[in-house]
């Protein structure tokens, strides 16, 4: 299983980014071989509109099964669901801690966008 987490950094010790669409990138962790890759999301940092949509596509293209973030906007959420990804909410901390919390079953699944666009 692959787990994607938005982050401004590129290690498992990096912080979780509070934003999904305009995160600098995504750390995608593979639970099977315990490796990770980092996907760049830079082209969305300054997008006027549609950042969440593009970010959600980027995440879907990594082959992630689960995405964990503190918030999801309405358009990103729609794309993630169309791509069949599971969405879970976290409250910050490091990427590593977030993934461990998810595996331990401490995080709750998000069944709707929890912030407005451009929040």
């Amino acid at each position: 299983m692959k787990i994607a987490v938005p982050s401004p950094g590129n290690t498992l010790e990096s912080d979780v980014d509070s934003r999904f669409g305009r995160a600098a990138g995504f750390v995608v962790y593979n639970t099977e071989d315990e490796t990770f890759v980092v996907t760049d999301n830079n082209q969305n940092l300054n997008a006027a509109q549609g950042a969440g949509i593009q970010a959600a596509q980027n995440v879907a293209l990594t082959g992630a099964d689960v995405v964990i973030a503190p918030s999801f906007g309405p358009k990103a959420f729609r794309v993630l669901k169309a791509a069949g990804l599971k969405t879970f909410l976290c409250s910050g901390g490091t990427v590593k801690q977030t993934i461990e919390d998810y595996i331990a079953g401490k995080l709750s699944e998000s069944d709707a966008a929890n912030v407005e666009g451009h929040w």
């Binding site: 509109q49 593009q54 596509q57 879907a60 358009k75 729609r78 794309v79 169309a82 791509a83």
Partner: protein, 282 residues
């Protein structure tokens, strides 16, 4: 002649100036409210016998039975209005700019058009019929101001005096409003913020090669940064409106500039002729 009233900074007095120009004109005039996100000219002009028309734009509709999920449309769309993840595309109408490209690149003919309403135009008369008032209003939640502005401008007759009350800023809605204008009045205030945004507005109208001059509102407040900048750039200051409590009082009741400062009427009546004679051209 089409005179556009623009500013850069919001809240400098565009509507005050545009309404004053319309009221003072000695001939029939059309006041076009192009600030379609927050139109407010009609508060001061109080048009009567208004009729309205809808503003429709075309967005793609996908026939999922025909779509082969090839994603050509999603790759083409620069606004992320179409997203395909190995599926028939999701459509995000609020991001669509109605360019029609998706329909052209679709190899299977799965895309057709559907009309959606994004706003409304109100057309009425003010000042016993002398002033035609055309107001565009973008629906709450819609973000595409330019199509509404374009439709406002379809109501402007050729060869008549028209005052366009533009939106603030220097982005697409302003460019759309300025397109086709003969002259621009840039309204500013003598503050650092007013000066900063005036410079952006000057860059914009120069890029568009439009002749312009500056109106300084609340001219006796703030500092002399705007005056010095205009002198250095050889920009003509066509009017200075003093800061008066009576103006704020009149404004708060829906009154106009001349309710507070009647002696400014002659200047505003003459501005179209001054522009025509080229006195106020940069």
């Amino acid at each position: 002649m089409r005179i556009a009233v623009a500013s850069g900074k919001g809240g400098t007095g565009k509507t005050t100036v545009a309404v004053a120009l319309s009221l003072a004109a000695s001939e029939p005039v059309l006041y076009a409210d192009c600030d379609v996100e927050e139109p407010n000219g009609s508060i001061f002009l109080r048009p009567e016998n208004e009729r309205t028309e809808e503003v429709l734009v075309e967005i793609p509709e996908i026939d999922e039975a025909v779509c082969t999920s090839c994603a050509a449309c999603a790759r083409f769309c620069q606004f992320n209005a179409l997203v395909s993840l190995g599926t028939p595309p999701l459509v995000f109408p609020e991001l669509c700019h109605s360019c029609g490209g998706c329909r052209i690149v679709c190899p299977s003919g799965a895309i057709s058009w559907k009309n959606v309403s994004i706003g409304e135009i109100a057309i009425g008369k003010s000042d016993r019929g002398r002033i035609s008032v055309v107001q565009g209003k973008l629906n709450v939640g819609s973000s595409l101001a330019p199509p509404v502005i374009r439709q406002v401008k379809t109501h402007i007759p050729e060869d008549s005096l028209c005052v366009l009350d533009c939106p603030p800023g220097t982005a697409c809605p302003v460019i759309e409003s300025l397109n086709g204008a003969d002259y621009v009045l840039l309204v500013t205030e003598p503050t650092p913020f007013g000066l900063h945004d005036l410079k952006l507005a000057v860059d914009t109208v120069r890029e568009l090669s439009l002749p312009f001059s500056v109106v300084i509102n609340r001219c006796d407040e703030g500092n002399d940064g705007v005056e010095n900048y205009c002198a250095g750039e050889r920009i003509h200051i066509i009017a200075r409106i003093p800061h008066k409590r009576s103006m704020a009082e009149a404004y708060s009741r829906g009154g106009n500039l001349f309710d507070a400062i009647p002696e400014m009427r002659d200047l505003f009546r003459d501005i179209p002729r001054m522009i025509e004679r080229g006195i106020a051209v940069e």
